[in-house]
């Protein structure tokens, strides 16, 4: 059974560290990335099913990651996580084709629910919250 490919980008190392295990338990193949520049490279090389990205990062913003992911594949679901959730940012993200946005601080279960929802929509039926 093919696992949904998931990329998580946040310059805060603890975010990836804490979320990785839970997301893998859902049945995803999870890749963690703290450097958005490296993330852009990864996105260009490989089609991820789901990309979870922070917005405010040094040098490269989550919006650029969103654009890159949507350019690489329109199928990719991009979930934005941000500590600076404003209406403007939400509008911009949605216009650029983000799947959803979740404001920091959030519970891991909330993100997992979103990931499950996205994966199910993409046809990965055996993904579910444990």
């Amino acid at each position: 059974m093919k696992k949904p490919e998931l990329l998580l980008i946040d310059d805060e190392p603890m975010v990836g560290q804490r979320l990785k295990g839970g997301l893998e338990k859902l049945g995803c193949a999870v890749e963690i990335c703290e450097d958005p520049a490296r993330a852009l490279d990864l996105i260009r090389k490989k089609n991820f099913d789901i990309v979870i990205t922070d917005v405010m990062m040094p040098e490269i913003s989550g919006m650029q990651v969103l654009e890159a992911a949507r350019t690489a594949s329109t199928q990719t679901r991009v979930i934005i996580i941000t500590g600076f959730a404003t209406a403007n940012l939400a509008r911009e993200a949605m216009e650029k084709g983000a799947y959803d946005m979740i404001a920091k601080p959030f519970k891991p279960a909330d993100l997992r629910k979103l990931v499950v929802k996205a994966a199910v929509e993409m046809g990965y039926s055996d993904i579910k919250e444990y």
Binding site: D11, M14, R18, G83, P108
Partner: protein
């Protein structure tokens, strides 16, 4: 209540006024009064001496008249005497005239005493006496009707001798007195002319002296107002050794400076609150990161509590504590900036201060996606300053730079020392630059190019005021793509802690 406030400012102004008021009074009023008093005394002296001179002349004229009358009577007597010897008549008349002459002399003996030639007067009196005696002897001789030609001849010779001497001497006296009178008159003619010339020069001197006395403090005040206009609010110091009407103005200016300083302080405070408002967005984001970490870690701990070993649990708890600390320092940093604080001048490392301040704005910069590079010289000498106010200046410059740049913006913060004793801090951005027609006004109060509600137009003017208060300068050069604000502050070699470790150089904080 207003009375209370006035009372308070008066008391507050007192220590500064003390130096100004602790001088002896030498007011312009007094100076003008003294000037006119000098004129008056001089005029009185001149008038009195003129009156004395005129009085003296009057007396001399009286003396001359006395001598004239005396001379007239003597000459009359001599004519009668001559008549007697020629025709044997008029001897009585001669005696009478001599008597009259004697009477005149005796009557005026006191006024004649003032004469400088008393010995001559006595000589005349002696000769007159002898003449009178000889005449009496002649008269007795004639009355006795005895013809004694030899005796008469002797009397005649004596009469001629004493008469001639007396007339000559009296005439000389009269002439001398007359000459004296004309000399005095001559003097009296000259004195007013001299006085006028003297008065003229005295007036020129007084005018010059007074105008210089007026102009000097005026010039000083004009220069002081220029200094104040540049934002230096240090009170005026006494420059003259005495107090005058200008002191009132100086005291008033010092009071005004005190007020201005109070106003500026409240302006600084209100502007600080605005800056805090701008920062809050960035701080919210900054704070959400550790909060998120805490949330994720706590949830993970809860979800996997039975699956993980104690070491891992301990690590997670430590992470939670660490992130809580991080949150606390973020809040502390903002509060430290917001805190109402007394103005304390202390030795400061401007580099570290700039670094701390820039970090306050880094989150705001992150929100905008603008990198801030900090470059700080090692071993910067300490400057003396107010930590909170200088922080406000840097924050304002950095926030302005953030406003000025576009999406590909970059901001450089540099702090370095310059010879001979300056520390300069620069905030450079690559925004569109400040138009040349706007550039001269950017430090003016209430000048803003930002849309209504975005800027108060006070930031740079407040910064300018703060830097001026520190004895420094803030300047700007701008071209499209490169705008540099430069803060120049002096340091004093006595400031300790020059070896203190400065912030690391070339470190982009993120």
């Amino acid at each position: 209540m207003p009375f209370h406030i006035r009372d308070k400012t008066a008391r507050m102004a007192a220590p500064d006024d003390k130096d100004l008021l602790d001088r002896p009074i030498f007011s312009f009023r007094l100076q003008i009064i003294l000037g006119f008093f000098t004129f008056f005394i001089l005029s009185v002296l001149i008038t009195i001496s003129a009156m004395i001179t005129i009085n003296k002349i009057e007396k001399r004229i009286a003396t001359v008249q006395t001598w004239d009358r005396f001379l007239f009577n003597i000459e009359q007597a001599r004519r009668w005497e001559k008549n007697f010897f020629l025709y044997g008549t008029n001897l009585k008349d001669a005696l009478e005239s001599t008597g009259a002459a004697l009477e005149i002399l005796n009557e005026n003996i006191n006024s004649l005493d003032s004469s400088d030639y008393s010995w001559q007067k006595e000589e005349i009196i002696r000769h007159l006496d002898r003449y009178h005696i000889e005449l009496n002897r002649l008269s007795q001789l004639v009355e006795s009707n005895r013809s004694q030609p030899a005796f008469q001849n002797e009397i005649e010779a004596n009469l001629r001798q004493f008469g001639a001497q007396m007339v000559e001497e009296a005439a000389e006296m009269a002439a001398r007195e007359y000459e004296m009178v004309s000399r005095w008159l001559h003097l009296l003619q000259k004195v007013p002319a001299y006085f006028l010339v003297f008065l003229f020069f005295l007036m020129i001197y007084m005018t010059r002296f007074l105008s210089i006395r007026f102009m000097k403090p005026l010039k000083y005040l004009v220069n002081q107002t220029r200094r104040i206009a540049r934002g230096d609010l240090t009170p005026l110091r006494p420059v003259r050794k005495f107090r005058d009407e200008f002191t009132t103005v100086e005291v008033a200016i010092n009071r005004m400076l005190k007020e201005l300083e109070n106003r500026q302080k409240s302006l600084i405070d209100s502007h600080k609150l605005r800056a805090v408002g701008i920062l809050t967005a960035g701080v919210a984001h900054e704070l959400n990161n550790p909060l998120n970490n805490i949330m994720l870690t706590a949830h993970t701990l809860m979800e996997e509590f039975t699956d993980i070993d104690d070491d891992e649990k301990l690590d997670m708890v430590k992470d939670i504590i660490g992130e809580t600390d991080r949150s606390r320092s973020i809040v502390h940093n903002l509060l430290d900036f917001t805190r109402e604080s007394k103005s304390v001048m202390e030795p400061l490392n401007l580099g570290r201060l700039a670094e701390e301040t820039t970090k306050l704005a880094v989150n705001q910069a992150k929100v905008r996606g603008v990198p801030i590079h900090i470059q700080i010289e090692r071993h910067l000498p300490d400057i003396i300053g107010d930590r909170h106010q200088l922080k406000q200046v840097f924050l304002n410059l950095v926030l302005n730079a953030l406003d000025a740049v576009g999406s590909d913006g970059k901001i450089h913060v540099r702090v370095e020392s310059r010879k001979p004793n300056l520390v300069i801090a620069q905030v450079e951005d690559n925004g569109s630059g400040i138009p040349a027609d706007v550039l001269p006004h950017i430090f003016d109060p209430f000048f803003t190019t930002k849309p209504v509600g975005k800027g108060t137009g006070l930031g740079l003017s407040v910064s300018h005021g703060i830097i001026a208060k520190h004895g420094g300068r803030i300047s700007v050069e701008s071209a499209p793509g490169r705008t540099i604000f430069t803060v120049t502050l002096p340091y004093y070699p006595t400031a300790r802690g020059n070896e203190e470790k400065p912030g690391s150089s070339e470190e982009p904080p993120h």
